[in-house]
């Protein structure tokens, strides 16, 4: 499984492909296509063979057992953003508003060589892998390292542009030497990988312990960008202290707040309808009072009683008034064409009010220029 199923664009769904099956917004499952297997959901089961051969993005419909209703899923090609949506909310996930901002602010492109510690859920690793030259990811939790290594291999990232190493960077720094527990493949006489990183992302409880180790692995002849991802403000305070001590400049901490809105509709309930409804209720009460008065004075006029029960157009009049412009008492589907609606945006019921504080800093190790080269160029411009 060497091809990186997260990069490049596939047309048809093939045997062995890793796909993301979208059952609903909160239910997206990674499924590898095997023609003899079946994907089961609450609504029914979808044999892989009905999926393989179809173009990516196809909706697959089946008849739910029993009722004549249909159940359907969509089969999508994995992307880092969809992958993040499919992850259960366990360990620290770097959500798209944060990861996309960090990548943009640190100018991630094929030119970037990135250090990421810790790997965590691996959601950010996938986004990095899509856009950068090379990603060196470090994870200090043994089990999570094994899980991430397995996952990255499955997704074809290891053979592409990702190296993952089991290391507590706060103690052991970022050097990757032969014999370390790492996915890095050393050249025959290569004893240490030259990371030469120009982008660094630290998502650690104590980034101040890792920062001092960076000087030995970052690129020296260019501006290096760093982002520390810390939930507590005290961590930011300690990080700022160490950043200043180790010559990192243009230090700025920011917060990213992402929000999602549902597109909904609210019924337009006009004043006139409301007044008309009240008039209707009033009329009915008066009719009721008269009827009771008549019944009170003269009980024999039976059809009167019955008649009283009908309204103008002869329809039997229930006790309650007839004019029901807002469909009170019955379930109206939002957008039901019998009513007038106003399009509105509704915030999610529960929002992610905080992920982490992002502390950015930059460093140029070698603050000089190569005078020979410069003079050479200057001479060439004078000719």
């Amino acid at each position: 499984m060497s091809t990186n199923c997260f990069s490049g664009y596939k047309d048809l769904i093939k045997e062995g492909d890793l796909t993301l099956i979208w059952v609903s917004r909160d239910n997206i499952k990674p499924v590898r296509m095997h023609s003899e297997e079946v994907f089961n959901t609450r609504y029914g089961s979808f044999p892989h063979k009905d999926i393989i051969g179809k173009p990516y993005g196809s909706q697959i419909a089946i008849r739910t057992k029993g009722s004549n209703k249909f159940a359907f899923v969509h089969v999508l090609q994995p992307t880092p953003e969809l992958w993040t949506l499919s992850l259960p909310h366990r360990t620290q996930i770097v959500y798209t508003p944060d990861s996309s901002y960090i990548m943009q602010r640190l100018n991630c492109s094929p030119h970037s060589r990135v250090i990421e510690a810790g790997t965590g859920s691996g959601s950010f690793s996938h986004a990095f892998a899509r856009s950068v030259g090379h990603l060196f990811s470090f994870e200090f939790h043994h089990i999570r390292y094994e899980q991430a290594l397995e996952e990255f291999k499955e997704h074809g990232l290891i053979d592409d542009n990702v190296t993952i190493t089991h290391r507590d960077v706060c103690q052991g720094g970022f050097l990757i030497k032969k014999g370390d527990t790492t996915s890095y493949e050393f050249g025959n006489n290569e004893t240490a990988a030259s990371l030469n990183a120009n982008v660094v992302f630290l998502d650690l409880p104590a980034p101040w312990d890792a920062i001092p180790h960076l000087d030995s692995v970052i690129s020296v002849d260019e501006k290096v960008g760093l982002c520390c991802f810390s939930p507590c403000i005290e961590q930011v305070d300690k990080t700022l202290d160490v950043l200043e001590k180790y010559g990192w400049t243009d230090v700025e901490m920011v917060e990213i707040q992402g929000r999602q809105y549902e597109s909904r509709r609210q019924m337009v309930r006009s004043l006139n309808d409301a007044l008309e409804r009240l008039r209707d209720i009033k009329r009915h009460k008066l009719q009721g009072v008269e009827r009771r008065k008549r019944m009170f004075n003269n009980t024999i006029d039976s059809n009167d009683e019955k008649v009283g029960k009908r309204n103008e157009d002869g329809v039997p009049l229930t006790e309650k008034a007839k004019f029901n412009p807002f469909g009170k008492g019955s379930r109206i589907k939002e957008g039901d064409s019998n009513y007038k609606w106003k399009e509105v945006t509704k915030m999610e019921a529960e929002i992610k009010s905080h992920t982490s504080y992002l502390t950015f800093a930059f460093k140029v190790v070698n603050r000089s220029r190569d005078d020979e080269k410069v003079n050479e160029i200057l001479r060439s411009t004078e000719k």
Binding site: Y101, Q104, M253, R259, K333, T359
Partner: protein, 478 residues
């Protein structure tokens, strides 16, 4: 020299001034650059340094007036200074306009008090500090102006200013530092040279007040757009860009990182509403014309939706073999090559609008999206993302409702991302007091292919609205 990491000739770069303003400068050899009140410097003096360094302009008496101004009136001749790397970083505490009484005295945490202040005593609170505004400063504006003309170093100017401020010692250390920083920004002569990234270009336009021109875009919204749209170096993206090329620049920088030698084959196809595409901002990009020609194609809305047919093209022109064409003379040759150019464009239109399906749709336009997006989406491959940027949430709301009821679009949602920077100084950590509002919104969904109605005899006319059940609108109990 690697133009992606190092200051090089004939390159557009960003120059950041002490007043936090951004300038774009083209570094032509043997020329000087004037930064107005912040001084002037020779381009040759900064070539070869890595991006991100801050230079101080200093004068040691044998200045020569900047060549640009040689002919101009002597009064505003800005003397060109020498350049040296600025050692100590200037902390900016510039954001707190109101000298809030509840600002903390610096005593809380031992403070990295900036150099100038270490020798001057200060009071713990500003209890007896009288806010006389400029009256407290005994130096007149003219005197300060004269000092600037004599190009005293910024340090000397600021020391003079502090000495002549009557109640400076009454200020808390905190407000002294703020006062010094404000003065520094006014008189200091330093600048920082940065790579012209897409984010820096956006910041330059915002600084210039061109917010409306870039549809109030923000760096965080653009970063989110690039990730949601799954932008990769090998992708072919359909895009509409009403910002004059800024969105295209964001795409190109993410796909190729400014590298003219990039082997990647990704393309950006820009559909434009006017006769010609307005991609002016690309003139600042450091991509060669050849590179742009290869990776950026433009096509008008009309040509995209009503492309010529093959017959139409072939019936109106048949290209001659090369030698014959070259043999043509004068008027005939011009009109032939003009027609050939027309012929090639028509061919390209055919290619761009043929069976080919794109890897993503990225939009930043004020055209009516609910009619535009469904039509453009016909050219987008299944499972690919569609991302529309909009300055106003209400326009994207209308779009989301339209797409919600169209089975070719999966889960359209409206997203907002806002970045709030902090004053990042230990002991006084808090979000900036004021910042630019707005930043726009994004509509994100995936193009999908609806399943054909499952054919089975006893399938009652599957109530299509039912099919929408799972996909459908929420029940609302009044």
């Amino acid at each position: 020299m690697n133009a992606l990491t190092t200051i090089d000739f004939n390159q557009h770069v960003i120059v950041r001034l002490p007043s936090k303003n951004y300038k774009i400068v083209e570094l032509k050899p043997n020329t000087s650059v004037s930064l107005g009140k912040f001084g002037a410097f020779e381009v040759n003096d900064i070539i070869g340094y890595p991006f991100g360094l801050t230079f101080e302009i200093y004068y040691d008496g044998e200045e020569v007036s900047s060549d640009e101004n040689r002919d101009s009136k002597p009064k505003n001749k800005i003397p060109i200074g020498k350049v040296r790397l600025l050692s100590q970083e200037i902390k900016d505490v510039n954001n707190d306009k109101d000298d809030g009484q509840s600002e903390p005295p610096l005593s809380i945490k031992e403070k990295s008090v900036s150099l100038e202040l270490s020798s001057i005593d200060s009071s713990a609170t500003n209890q007896n500090l009288v806010n006389m505004g400029s009256k407290a400063q005994e130096l007149t504006v003219e005197e300060i102006e004269k000092m600037k003309q004599e190009s005293l170093s910024s340090k000397e100017i600021i020391d003079k200013i502090i000495k002549s401020h009557k109640s400076f010692h009454n200020k808390t250390v905190y407000s002294q530092e703020k006062y010094v920083n404000r003065k520094k920004q006014k008189f200091a002569k330093y600048f920082t040279v940065e790579y012209l990234s897409s984010s820096n270009l956006l910041q330059f336009l915002i600084d210039k007040g061109d917010i409306q021109r870039v549809l109030d875009m923000s760096q965080e919204s653009m970063g989110m757009l690039l990730n949601l749209a799954n932008i990769q170096s090998e992708g072919n993206y359909l895009c509409m860009d009403e910002t004059g090329g800024l969105l295209v620049y964001f795409l190109l920088e993410r796909m190729f990182g400014g590298d003219n030698e990039s082997k990647s084959k990704g393309k950006v196809i820009v559909i434009h509403e006017n006769e010609h595409a307005n991609l002016d901002l690309l003139k600042f990009a450091n991509y060669s014309e050849k590179f742009i020609k290869e990776h950026v194609h433009t096509i008008s809305l009309l040509d995209f939706f009503e492309p010529p047919t093959l017959q139409e093209i072939q019936s109106r022109f048949t290209p001659l073999p090369k030698e014959e064409a070259r043999a043509l003379k004068g008027g005939k040759k011009n009109s032939y090559y003009r027609k050939l150019r027309w012929y090639n464009t028509q061919w390209q239109i055919l290619e761009l609008t043929g069976e080919f399906l794109y890897d993503g749709l990225v939009m930043a336009t004020t055209l009516h999206l609910p009619t535009l997006v469904p039509k453009l989406a016909e050219k987008i491959h299944g499972s690919r993302p569609i991302v529309c940027y909009g300055q106003f949430k209400e326009t994207l709301l209308e779009l989301a409702h339209t797409l919600y009821s169209d089975l070719r679009f999966l889960a359209p949602s409206i997203l907002e991302t806002r970045c709030r920077p902090y004053q990042s100084i230990r002991g006084k950590l808090h979000p900036l007091m004021t910042m630019k509002g707005g930043g726009g919104y994004l509509m994100w969904c995936h193009r999908v292919i609806p399943a054909p109605e499952p054919v089975s005899e006893n399938a009652t006319a599957a109530d299509s609205s039912e099919k929408l059940a799972e996909h459908g609108a929420k029940k609302q109990k009044i």
